[in-house]
């Protein structure tokens, strides 16, 4: 069972790095969907008896991250932007380099932490860190509103991985918190994306440059 866990974690990190490299909107969303699906299966792999909490989490992730949000994103892509090409802020090469550095940093970081608890696998913490940092990098390097939302969600995945550490003992409240946050955050963002669309007829946030105050 643990072998599967390591595999899944490795897949998540690789998908995250592919996301960094992906350029077309459609492929970005598909990569995200696949990553979320793998994420959803991890709680099952963690072992321990399958109790109500786990089921709720797995189902919740699947419903939210694999089905509901991607459909909305695809709808937004079709409805909103004409060009599918979403260039990055730093350009692909620099992106990957930075991604590599951040993954290295997260492994270096996790070597510093000694986990006295029974670790599910020593790969869990570094992969969670790297997903988090790559999600952050995705947020930073992409100018398209939709890719930013995807970046935000990848970061949420990273945090979700950390939440798994506390799986048995976390009270229900924190899980609700996670879902609440993802759901509402994305919900607001999708509304805002539509607003951007009819306001600016493009979703390139880099053109939302400094408001008039700054130039003065």
């Amino acid at each position: 069972m643990l072998l599967g866990l390591d595999m899944a974690l490795a897949v998540i990190v690789i998908l995250a790095i592919c996301l960094l490299g992906a350029v077309r909107l459609g492929s970005i969303i598909r990569l995200f969907v696949f990553q979320s699906f793998v994420m959803a299966t991890i709680p099952l792999m963690l072992g321990g008896e399958v109790h109500i909490h786990k089921l709720v989490i797995v189902l919740g992730t699947v419903v939210l991250k694999v089905i509901f949000i991607p459909t909305m994103l695809f709808w937004a892509v079709r409805h909103v932007s004409i060009r599918r090409y979403a260039p990055g802020f730093f350009g692909i090469g620099a992106n990957l380099l930075l991604g590599g550095f951040l993954v290295g940093l997260s492994f270096f970081l996790s070597s510093g932490i000694v986990l006295t608890e029974k670790p599910f696998s020593d790969l869990l913490i570094p992969s969670a860190f790297s997903t988090l940092f790559i999600g952050f990098l995705l947020l930073i390097s992409r100018t398209k509103a939709i890719t930013q939302v995807v970046g935000y969600l990848v970061m949420e995945n990273g945090i979700f991985l950390f939440a798994l550490l506390l799986l048995e003992t976390t009270p229900l409240l924190v899980e609700l918190g996670i879902f609440l946050d993802i759901f509402v955050g994305v919900f607001i963002m999708s509304i805002v994306i539509n607003r951007i669309q009819n306001e600016f007829d493009h979703t390139d946030t880099s053109r939302l440059t400094a408001p008039e105050g700054e130039k003065g």
Binding site: L105, L109, F136, L139, I140, S141, S206, T209, A210, P211
Partner: protein, 170 residues
Amino acid sequence: MVLFSLGSAQFLTAAGPEQVQIGTLLKPVLSLSKVFGVFFLVLILLTLARTFLAGRASQRRAETWACGYAPSSPRMQTTASSFAKPVLLFFKSVTSFKIHAVRSGNYFPKNLELSSNVTDASEHFIFRPFYVTLRKFSKGTLKLQSGTIPQSLFYILLATVALLIWRFLW
């Protein structure tokens, strides 16, 4: 409020060598009021004496005694710059005190012009250059705050990574 500021002043100087108690700080304030009391008492006594004396003797109003010269016209009055001339002459090196005089050759000059000016050393040498560089520096950094969202997020990531490296890994 006074007590408070004295307290914090004492606190501030607590780093100073000898420990100044609140009492010693307050003593001057109390004895100052004693001195003012004496001052005004003597002043009132003297004014009474003076009014008594003035009452007995005659008082006249007359032209200011100007050693026989023509009565002083506004042009002859001691102006502020002429009042400050001795001191400025002494501190000439610091205040770059300049006198510009237009002297025409013959003895009965038609137009005679004299003006002097002083450059305000502190403002000219200390505050103005400092503030100009600050303004230039801030115009430069306005670009940093260009306001695009990825840039702001980049700052957050930078802050996190910097804090991690500085505090955690060292």
